[in-house]
């Protein structure tokens, strides 16, 4: 489905990704691991067309390199950024509304699905999103992206700032997504959850992929873990 080959990305003049290659299949959960600053978020942005990138980037056999973010979104990729980026002055409901494309008909997800997933959001649906608690905001961003009915969802550190119990919940929901045939590219710091739910794990280091295999093989590969994940 998604295929990256030798992607290079730049912030202005600084070269951040040095040839990233991997792919994500349909209905697959792929974890993208790595230390702070290794370039995981940049990879996500490169896919979305939010940073200048070079290389081959294909989605459903179409070239999406250099496409504008809204075009990429319309082709079915959803993105949940790491710093949440909720719209603080809009209500929870309006935030979700903005996630929809068109009038939302034909989407796999409805408002009720979202509110069912996180009842807390339903309680707060007419509140300004800016006053939500940190964790609530995180839930909101996830739902907002789902409202756009993506076939692939890229989630950047979704469990950041969530209470342990909610972290588990998120893990469950990611698996539900998979059951609905949606692929997930999960960018994580916390190994625990990523290892539990993903089908495949990628490890990034210094702007390129240094490991690609199943979670089990990563668990077994002490050197990679030592060198690229722990300090």
């Amino acid at each position: 489905m998604l295929k990256l080959q030798d992607i290079h990305a730049y912030y202005g003049k600084s070269h951040v990704l040095h040839g990233v290659s991997f792919d994500v299949g349909p209905g697959e959960i792929v974890a993208l691991l790595g230390r702070n600053g290794s370039g995981r978020s940049t990879t996500a942005k490169a896919i979305m067309g939010l940073v200048h990138a070079e290389g081959t980037l294909r989605w459903k056999d179409k070239d999406i390199l250099r496409k504008k973010a809204y075009e990429v979104a319309h082709m079915g990729i959803g993105y949940v950024p790491e710093n949440r980026d909720i719209f603080p002055k809009l209500t929870v409901h309006q935030n979700l509304l903005l996630g929809q494309k068109g009038n939302g008909r034909g989407s796999r997800w409805s408002f009720d699905d979202m509110y069912g997933m996180f009842p807390r959001l339903k309680e707060r649906q007419h509140t300004e999103a800016g006053v939500l608690s940190g964790g609530e905001q995180q839930m909101l961003t996830l739902c907002r992206t789902l409202m756009g009915d993506p076939d692939l969802i890229i989630i950047d550190e979704p469990t950041e700032g969530l209470a342990p119990k909610i972290v588990e919940l998120v893990g469950q929901y990611l698996r539900t997504l998979k059951d609905k045939g949606i692929s997930v590219l999960l960018i994580e710091q916390k190994l625990t959850i990523a290892m539990q739910i993903s089908d495949r794990a990628l490890v990034m280091g210094h702007g390129s992929i240094v490991f690609d295999g199943t979670p089990d093989s990563l668990r077994a590969d002490a050197t990679t873990r030592k060198e690229w994940l722990e300090v």
Binding site: N36, S133, E136, G161, A163, K165, E168
Partner: protein
């Protein structure tokens, strides 16, 4: 007897929803308290009430026995209570040095002075240098705060918070967004700069919580359901059910 910080049946509602539903809490001087609780339980709101960002709907907040509820943030700060923010909140266009110096000025009595030069305020400058060193930003002394990395900004956030030398310090998720290594670094830093002070922190990372706190307060749905030592809290069934869940917390807690 007076406590360093005391909350008496504190309540807060936004419109019709009551977010804080009667919190009583007494913190002794020099204690380190961790506040945990599910998302949206009202931890940050509690901090906002204490620090004056919000006014309580009812109830009292006492700092060293003195009522501070309803006061403005700057008044509370002048009484010796300082806080950091969950979302980094520094002066983006000023350098690291200037950020910290701003934090120092009031407490050294320079107030709104425009008759003295900053460069001649030797005590303030010395204190700032010391702070820079403490938070480990020597190398970034003259870098604008916007240009710092996330972790550095968090360190600066703490630096600005402790700069005024307040005795009671509130930290809202100080380690959010940091990697494991950075986190443990940071805990050491926090421990070091808050020696002898009263500390309240909000945290989700059980590793941090257990590594840092003398006592833990568990907030659920706007109420403190437990306030005890870490071991006792961990054993508390209600806490387990309401907050910790099973494996994740264990995994986090076990890592330290």
């Amino acid at each position: 007897m007076t406590h360093a910080l005391e909350l008496k049946s504190l309540r807060k509602n936004f419109g019709k929803t009551e977010i804080i539903r009667g919190v009583d809490l007494a913190v002794e001087a020099g204690e380190r308290i961790a506040i945990i609780g599910p998302n949206g339980a009202g931890k940050s709101t509690l901090f906002n009430l204490i620090s004056g960002r919000l006014a309580p709907s009812s109830g009292e907040v006492l700092l060293d026995g003195q009522r501070i509820d309803g006061k403005k943030p700057f008044e509370i700060n002048r009484l010796g209570l300082s806080r950091s923010f969950q979302i980094t909140n520094i002066f983006p266009k000023l350098s690291v040095f200037e950020n910290l110096r701003c934090g120092v000025l009031w407490s050294l009595g320079y107030r709104y002075s425009f008759l003295r030069f900053l460069s001649n305020l030797h005590d303030a400058n010395a204190r700032t240098e010391e702070l820079i060193h403490q938070v480990g930003l020597d190398r970034k002394r003259d870098v604008q705060a916007v240009n710092l990395t996330y972790a550095e900004q968090r360190a600066l956030e703490i630096g600005v918070t402790i700069a005024g030398g307040a005795n009671v310090i509130l930290l809202d998720e100080p380690t959010a967004g940091m990697s494991k290594t950075e986190t443990s670094h940071f805990i050491a830093l926090i421990k070091q700069v808050t020696v002898g002070k009263t500390l309240l922190t909000v945290e989700h990372d059980m590793g941090v919580v257990f590594g840092l706190a003398d006592k833990i307060a568990v907030v659920v749905y706007g109420e403190v359901i437990a306030f005890d030592t870490p071991a006792a809290v961990r054993a508390n069934a209600r806490v387990q059910e309401a907050y910790l869940g099973s494996s994740v917390a264990d995994a986090q807690g076990g890592a330290h």
